[in-house]
């Protein structure tokens, strides 16, 4: 083999990737009746005699009639199952994960994982007496002070278990606020089509009618539409800024003013504050509430609907409605949990928040300091605009709205031109990118931007990473012209080549549990 040829020489310009493929069944299908991971020794007769029948101590109402329908497997088979699934994946530790725009897939420093898994944190129990948990209460209290400074608002809760839970918490506080003023008839919430759809969903879940504003020709939410939408029924405006297009709404204070004049509150969705840390705050724009996703802006793992973490910040006026308990510090510097808050909305989650992620976020902020946070935002914006420059060099892609202007931390691009020319859709291009070890996400529905692609590079990635990503996109776009069927049938080297998404839209067919799947597929309960 001559010098410089693969695999001896330098790697080829585009990295090839082949995903593991285990044809791994669902764990319930692996179940073997009687198989066990751990067989605890039998209880000694003396103990059995002393304790009696432990089940008898349980009230009848909580006793199971039948054992739970759990899969039965040996420990090795459980480990092997999940290790295999972990290989059939991409993620921020494996690839240049800038394609999951709006999700802020930044790197989660491993040292913060070490702190979170330290027995001093991991072995805590939420029922411990606060006198024995002063350390973690102090971390929570200090993180609250930091988020107060970052938002400019007056009080913070760390209780929500995720971003949508944080929005729901804010909506609940808004509802309680209006009720306390005998204005419970306010039954409408206003949001925008380019704000995260969790805003509309959470308002809906809380019983509100939702009014959505569409963009004007410049891509900003339509201020005239807002004026037409506000009334004595307006409870609140829930809005993101910059929106999912990466465009910052410079009239945001007008939006806040119009809603305030109508008697509504304004909540700032700062789930992703990555482009504005240390630059602009909820307080200065006049907001009453905001929320952060610790797993977006503050680097904690996303955890795929599992233990992420949200934080809500509010003005003094809304502080009485915060979830219980709050973390307080007494005059002696001792920390305690305050459950006696009569106007509180109650609890939005068991216990006090996702402590491992609170520790990680605290560690991350502490490691950076105030100047470091601002540098994070500046780097994220620089990375985004560098990538936008590279991407827009590719024929067939555009960045709709605000032409010629820069974006904040992400961009919603459109492949409409390439799609019309080739019949290859944006989803196809994103899937073809998987053959090069990366991917991208299109956008939420409805696709206001046609054939969308949303990229958000964050501060984590190097110039070389971004060059590699842009080169993959350029290559795939060229393939759409020269070999469209190759792109349309991609990915070719992944575990699953094409998934049918339609059942996810169909309540008769979607299933998030094995039991629901068996019932809806007609396989029996």
């Amino acid at each position: 083999m001559t010098e410089g040829t693969w695999p001896i020489g330098p790697k080829p310009p585009l990295r090839r990737f082949h995903q593991a493929r285990w044809d791994e069944p669902v764990i319930f299908e692996l179940s073997q009746p009687g198989a066990r991971g751990v067989l605890p020794p039998a209880v000694e007769p003396e103990i059995r005699e002393a304790v009696g029948d432990p089940v008898a101590a349980l009230p009848r109402s909580v006793r199971r009639e039948r054992p739970p329908a759990l899969p039965e497997l040996a420990q090795l088979h459980v480990v092997r199952h999940y290790a295999r699934l972990s290989q059939e994946n991409l993620g921020v530790d494996l690839n240049v994960d800038v394609g999951q725009g709006t999700c802020t897939m930044k790197y989660s420093p491993k040292v913060n994982d070490q702190l979170a898994s330290d027995p001093k944190v991991a072995d805590l129990h939420p029922l411990q007496d606060p006198s024995t948990t002063q350390g973690v209460l102090e971390v929570m209290w200090r993180l609250e002070q930091m988020l107060k400074a970052i938002s400019g608002l007056d009080r913070v809760t760390l209780q929500p278990g995720a971003g949508s839970a944080a929005i729901y918490t804010n909506v609940s506080m808004i509802r309680a606020y209006h009720a306390s003023r005998s204005e419970g008839a306010r039954d409408q919430v206003i949001t925008t089509i380019f704000s995260h759809p969790s805003n509309a969903a959470c308002a809906k879940t809380a019983g509100y009618e939702v009014i959505t504003l569409y963009p004007d020709a410049d891509g900003y939410p339509d201020l005239g539409a807002l004026r037409a939408a506000v009334s004595e029924r307006t409870a609140a405006l829930l809005i993101t800024n910059p929106e999912d297009t990466g465009i910052f709404n410079p009239r945001i204070d007008d939006f806040v003013r119009v809603v305030h004049e109508a008697g509504g509150l304004c909540a700032y969705d700062q789930a992703n504050a990555n482009g504005i840390l240390g630059i602009t705050r909820a307080k200065e724009a006049g907001f009453d509430l905001c929320h952060f996703n610790l797993h977006k802006t503050f680097s904690t793992p996303h955890a795929c609907g599992g233990p992420a973490a949200g934080a809500c910040a509010v003005t003094e006026e809304l502080a009485p409605f915060l979830p219980v308990p709050t973390v307080e510090r007494d005059d002696d510097g001792r920390f305690f949990l305050d459950h006696e808050r009569p106007m509180s909305i109650g609890k939005v989650r068991p216990w006090y928040g996702v402590v491992p992620n609170i520790v990680r976020a605290y560690a991350w902020i502490t490691s950076l300091g105030a100047e470091g946070l601002r540098e994070v935002a500046e780097t994220a914006v620089l990375n985004n605009n560098y990538l936008m420059h590279k991407v827009l060099e590719i024929a067939g892609v555009s960045a709709p709205y605000a032409e010629g202007r820069r974006r904040i931390e992400q961009v919603r691009y459109s492949w409409e031109e390439l799609s019309r020319e080739t019949g290859v859709r944006s989803e196809d291009l994103g899937l073809r990118a998987a053959d090069f070890g990366t991917h991208y996400w299109t956008s939420h529905h409805p696709w206001v931007v046609p054939e969308p692609m949303t990229l958000e590079p964050t501060e984590s990635y190097s110039k070389a990473d971004l060059d590699e990503y842009a080169a993959i996109l350029a290559h795939v776009a060229e393939e759409a012209r020269t070999d469209p069927e190759l792109v349309r049938t991609a990915p070719h080297a992944s575990t699953v080549h094409r998934a049918d998404h339609e059942p996810l839209d169909d309540p008769e067919r979607w299933a998030v549990t094995w039991r629901a799947y068996r019932r809806k597929a007609g396989l029996g309960g």
Binding site: A229, S419, P446
Partner: protein, 362 residues
């Protein structure tokens, strides 16, 4: 097996006289070129299929240019091709040859011809080649049509759904008075976004959104008030929820959950809305966002004057709004005063307790 029918789609191609004039003016028939692009894409799909074509410029020449073997169906009398040729050959392809997909190139007029010939249950798809395309029965581009034809040829699971066919009076169009009317519905592949206008991510999502809109409107219906229901599938869901029949391309009136007038004329509507309290429920027709004046001319300015703007209920799925690409909703009732009265922002019902604040312009 896929069939192909086509005709030269020139601006104002209704009538031989217009075709000849256009050709004299130096117009280039583009249906042929566009059909070649479709077939080239179909060829690259590497699927086994038999291609049936109409003679000469109606498909045969395009197949040859694309390097595809094809069997010719039917014949044409003269050197020029007519709407009658389109109708006759389309009928033969669907009824005798039972093609899996009938492709036709042209614009709204061709779509109306195909609808007249094969009805609303045959699988068809339009190749956009006309000057004016208001109908939803067309692929977004020839390449997109080729991709969809390839999916059908490959035997992929392709869903079909009703798509609006609007025809416009070309004489009126040439005079600058655009006035399309809703002719009916063709059955086209429902691949999201390859077919105009932009569709929901899936049929299930579309069905749920339409049902949610119907639930909202029906819940808000007041006793004794007459509800004028405009044309379209979104409005039809309201009638469906009430359990009353709906004229798909016409205007019906319901009151207290019962059908009062079916397929009403403007005069009949005027009589009903003048007799008591009334409301109008409409959905934008076509890809241009017209709320009034396109496909629902029966709900004319006199009717709207009586009903009043506050009782106009505009309904649309979020995807239909997104398909406007930021353009406003529009009205063209024929009465500038009524148009001015209707313009401004409106709260469009987009789901159950879901609204979009969207502007209407003249």
């Amino acid at each position: 097996m896929a069939g192909i029918g086509g005709r030269v789609g020139l601006k104002g191609s209704d009538g031989e006289e217009v075709v000849r004039r256009a050709l004299e003016l130096g117009a280039v028939p583009e249906a042929g070129d566009r059909t070649v692009r479709v077939l080239q894409r179909l060829r690259s799909a590497q699927a086994g299929f038999e291609l049936l074509v109409a003679p000469g410029p109606m498909g045969e020449e395009a197949a040859r240019a694309a390097g595809l073997e094809a069997r010719v169906v039917g014949e044409v009398a003269g050197p020029g091709t007519t709407a009658e040729d389109t109708r006759r050959i389309a009928t033969a392809m669907v009824e005798r040859e039972r093609v899996d997909l009938l492709l036709f190139a042209g614009g709204d007029g061709t779509a109306a011809d195909v609808l007249a010939a094969v009805g609303s249950s045959a699988p068809v798809l339009g190749i956009p080649a006309g000057v004016k395309i208001h109908s939803a029965a067309f692929a977004v581009s020839p390449e997109a049509a080729g991709v969809l034809a390839g999916e059908v040829a490959r035997g992929s699971r392709v869903r079909f759904a009703e798509a609006e066919v609007l025809d416009l009076d070309e004489d009126a169009y040439r005079r600058g008075e655009i006035a399309p009317r809703l002719v009916g519905y063709l059955r086209v592949p429902e691949e999201p976004r390859l077919v105009q206008p932009r569709k929901a991510p899936s049929p299930a999502a579309e069905a749920i959104a339409t049902e949610a809109i119907a639930a909202d409107v029906v819940e808000g219906m007041e006793p004794g008030r007459a509800y004028v229901l405009g044309p379209g599938t979104t409005v039809r869901a309201i009638a469906g929820r009430l359990g009353v029949p709906k004229t798909l391309v016409g205007v019906d009136v319901v009151r207290d959950g019962r059908l009062v007038v079916a397929d009403a004329s403007e005069d009949a509507l005027l009589e009903v809305v003048s007799a008591g309290s009334a409301a109008v429920v409409v959905t934008p027709i076509g890809g241009q966002g017209f709320v009034f004046g396109r496909g629902n001319q029966q709900i004319g300015p006199r009717v709207l004057q009586v009903v009043g703007r506050e009782h106009v209920i505009v309904i649309a799925t979020p995807w239909k709004l997104a398909s406007l690409g930021g353009l406003p909703l529009r009205v063209d009732t024929g009465d500038p005063e009524v148009d001015a009265e209707l313009s401004g922002h409106v709260l469009v019902v987009t789901g159950y307790r879901d609204r979009a604040a969207y502007r209407i312009e003249v």
